[in-house]
Symmetry: C2
Subunit: 405 residues, 2 copies
C-alpha cells in the first residue's frame, strides 16, 4: 500500500489530512483536578454554576447607604456595625451607614457605596464606639458590583476547546469548580533516523553530525503538551526501523519520524514503511516539502523531513495547529500582520515559511536565508513569516502574515 | 520598619524595586541535561565548539563534481561510488561524478553539486554497475553548504539570558552539547488571604467567594517556571499569617501574598508584616494599585492586591518581566503596536492596563471594563492593552502598546 504522490499537495490539503488522521484521538477525555489542568484543552463547554460575583458587593472601602436617604447636599448618618468581607451582614437600619470593605456583601436595604475618601471624617470609627459620619449623595448602584455582573449562572463560562491558562483556570476556580474535563494528552513516539547523526555529547567522526531533530522536536512536542517517547537514533536500516516501530506502536497514539522521506537512494523511512498504509509525497512548501503521512499497524504516522528547520516548520505548519484545533492544547499561535523589513524572493509554486524577528514597531526582520539547515538563525527568531504560494517576490514594507513563536 | 508611602510610585519605579529585590537570585546556576533545559533561562554565553555544518555537505540529492571539468555545454562523466550521508568519502577521481545524498560530505576534489533532476539519466545507477551520466555545468559551490556557514566555531551561539525553547535547544544539540548551564528556578511561597475566600469545590456560604487568586497565580507562576508552594487560604488573622510565613520562609526564595494590602480596616498582610521591612503603598496603575514590597526574615516579599484581575496584572507588570530579565525565563512577552477597536477612558494619573483580544487584522478589542473583578472577560483575553500615565482618553483607531499573553 506504499504510495508516492508526485504532484505536490497544498499546505492546507496536507494539514486537512493530518487533522483527519488525528481527529479520533479527540474523543479521549480525562477529568483532572484544577491544579493539573494548566496547559490542557477543555473537553466540553463549562456553564457557570453560580453568578459571579455571587452576591452584590462593594467595589470600594466606604459606607453602604440607602441612597434615597442622602439628599444632594449630603447627610449626617449614624454609623452601623461594620461589614467585613466574608460576613453576611444584617439589614441596614434606616438612617444608618455601614462601614463596608471592598468585596464585602452589600447589606439588605443598602443600594450604594460612598468611598471612604468622600466621608467626613474620612476614616472608619473604632468598632463599637457610637459615631456619625457626613456623606455626600450617591446614585443607586454607586460602587456596587451587581451579582452576576461578571458572568450569570447558566451562561457559558468557557467553550469546549479552550486552552486552559492562568486566566481560564482562575475563572473556573472563581466558579467553585475543582475538577475539569480535558482532552487526554496524546502519546507520541519520536524516532530520528540517519546513519549520519549521533547523539549530542558523544564524539563526532568525519561525515557525521549531531542529532538536532530529536531535541528540537522532543521540546516542541512536550511544549505542546504531548507525552513523548524517544527511541534514540535509528540507523539507516529499514528492517530494524520497521521492527522498532512495531515494538513501540501499541503504546502510542502517534508516530513522528524525521528524515528518510525524500527521493534519494537511501530513504530509510520510506523503505521501512513500504508495506504500510503510508503515502509519501511533496507538499508545496519550502522548507519541509517532503512529507510522509499514514498509519503503521493502525497508529497515525507523520514522516517529517530530516533537516532541523524543516522539522520545526513541519511541526508548526501541520501538527501544532491540528493539535490546537482538535484538543484545545497547545494554545494556537497568535497571528498578526507585519511589514517586512527587507525584500524577499520565494518559489512561486510553494508556500514559503521564513524565520524572523518581530520588532515592537510592527516590522519583521528575516533571520538567515531560506536554507533548511540554518539552526543558528532559527534559534534567534521569534516568528514565522508566511509567503503564500503564488507570490514570487515581496518588497521591504510589504505586509505579511506572521505567526508569533 | 513598617512604612507606608502615600505618594504613588510609577510602574517603572516599582518594577525597578522588584528587580533589585530579586537580582541576587540570579547568581544561582544549575547545569542540567539538554532534555531538562526546556523553558529554562541560559545562565552564561555558549560559544560554538565546532563549525555548523561541521563539514561541507550537499544541499541536494545529486552528483558531486569538479566544476572545472564540466564546460558550459555539459559533459559525460563516469559515475563514482555513491556518497551516503554519514560516510567519509574518498577523494573524487578526476573525470568522475559521485552520486551524493543530501547532507553527505562533499568528497575532496569536488566543489559543486548538480541536482539529480538535471542529470541524464535523472536517477542514480544501481550501485556497483559501471555507468556514465551527462551533467550540465555548475558554478563552484553550487548546492554546497559550506562548513561553518550556519555558525563558525568560537562564535556566540546563544547569549546568557536566552530563553531555551525548541529552537535554542535544537541549536545546542546540533553543536553537540549535552549539558546546559541554566538559572536555578526560584521557589515561591504563594499565600492567598481573606476571611471571605474558600477553596473551589467546597460549599459556598453567604458573603463568601471562591478563591480564584490561588489558582490564577499558581498557574501563572508555574507557567513562568517557578516552583510553587501553596499554603491554602490564610484567614484574616495577622498573628497566624506571620507565623505561617515564618514557618515557610526558610525554604523559599520569594513570598507572594494576595489581598490585605489596601487601606481598609482589615488588611491582614499589612498587619502581619507590620514589624518587617515591607513597604506598602500605591503604584500609579489601574488595576493593581495597592502593592507591598520588602523582605520577611530576609526573604523577598511581594504583596499583591486581592482582586483576581489585579493579581494577574501585578504578576504580568512586575514579577514576570523581572523574572524574564534576570533569569531568561519565562520568555518575555511579545510587545506590538495595535489599533484600538473602540474608544477608552483612563485615569490620567495612572498607567491603565486593560484586557483585550488581538485580531489578525492588527486591531485590539477590549474585553470587559476596567473592573478588577471581571474574571470572565480576563479568561477571554489574549492580550494586555497599555494606556500609559498622562493619557485620559483614546479614540477607536488610536495605536496602543499591546503585550501578547
Amino acid at each position: 500500500m506504499h504510495r508516492t504522490a508526485n504532484r505536490p499537495v497544498t499546505v492546507e490539503a496536507h494539514r486537512d489530512k493530518v487533522r483527519a488522521l488525528l481527529a479520533p484521538l479527540a474523543a479521549r477525555i480525562d477529568t483532572v483536578p484544577l491544579g493539573d489542568a494548566l496547559g490542557r484543552g477543555l473537553a466540553s463547554d463549562v456553564l457557570a454554576p453560580l453568578d459571579l460575583p455571587p452576591f452584590a458587593n462593594s467595589q470600594m472601602d466606604g459606607f453602604a447607604i440607602r441612597s434615597a436617604e442622602v439628599p444632594d447636599g449630603g447627610a449626617e448618618l449614624r454609623v452601623a456595625a461594620p461589614v467585613p468581607a466574608g460576613a453576611e451582614p444584617a439589614e441596614l437600619a434606616p438612617g444608618t451607614a455601614a462601614p463596608i470593605m471592598t468585596g464585602a456583601m452589600i447589606p439588605a436595604g443598602a443600594d450604594a457605596v460612598v468611598p471612604i475618601e468622600l466621608a467626613v471624617p474620612d476614616s472608619f470609627p473604632a468598632p463599637g464606639a457610637p459615631a456619625t459620619v457626613r456623606l455626600p449623595a450617591a446614585p443607586v448602584g454607586n460602587y456596587v458590583r451587581v451579582a452576576g455582573s461578571d458572568i450569570a449562572a447558566g451562561e457559558t463560562a468557557l467553550a469546549a476547546g479552550t486552552f486552559l491558562g492562568p486566566g481560564q483556570l482562575g475563572l473556573l476556580a472563581a466558579l467553585g469548580l475543582s475538577q475539569v474535563p480535558v482532552h487526554a494528552e496524546p502519546r507520541v513516539l519520536l524516532v530520528t533516523t540517519g546513519d549520519e547523526v549521533v547523539e549530542p555529547g558523544s564524539p563526532l567522526q568525519p561525515g557525521k553530525i549531531y542529532d538536532a531533530n530529536g531535541t528540537l522536536l522532543d521540546s516542541a512536542l512536550r511544549q505542546a503538551g504531548l507525552h513523548v517517547t524517544r527511541t534514540g537514533i535509528s540507523a539507516d536500516n529499514p528492517g530494524e526501523l520497521e521492527e522498532l516501530l512495531r515494538r513501540h506502536a501499541p503504546g502510542v497514539d502517534l508516530i513522528v519520524t524525521t528524515g528518510g522521506v525524500s527521493k534519494g537512494a537511501y530513504e530509510v523511512v520510506r523503505q521501512a514503511l513500504a508495506d504500510h498504509d503510508v503515502e509519501f509525497g511533496p507538499v508545496a512548501m519550502q522548507p519541509g516539502g517532503p512529507q510522509g503521512i499514514g498509519t503503521f499497524d493502525g497508529v497515525p504516522v507523520l514522516g517529517f523531513p530530516g533537516n532541523p528547520v524543516s522539522c520545526l516548520i513541519s511541526f508548526e505548519m501541520f501538527l501544532r495547529p491540528v493539535l490546537a484545533d482538535l484538543f484545545g492544547s497547545p494554545a494556537p499561535r497568535t497571528v498578526i500582520r507585519a511589514r517586512l523589513a527587507e525584500a524577499l524572493a520565494s518559489p512561486e509554486a510553494k508556500h514559503q515559511v521564513r524565520r524572523g524577528t518581530l520588532g515592537p514597531d510592527g516590522t519583521v526582520r528575516l533571520e538567515g536565508g531560506a536554507g533548511s539547515h540554518l539552526m543558528h538563525a532559527l534559534a534567534h527568531s521569534n516568528a514565522l513569516v508566511h509567503v503564500p504560494a503564488g507570490t514570487a517576490a515581496l518588497a521591504g514594507g510589504d505586509e505579511v502574515e506572521v505567526w508569533i513563536l
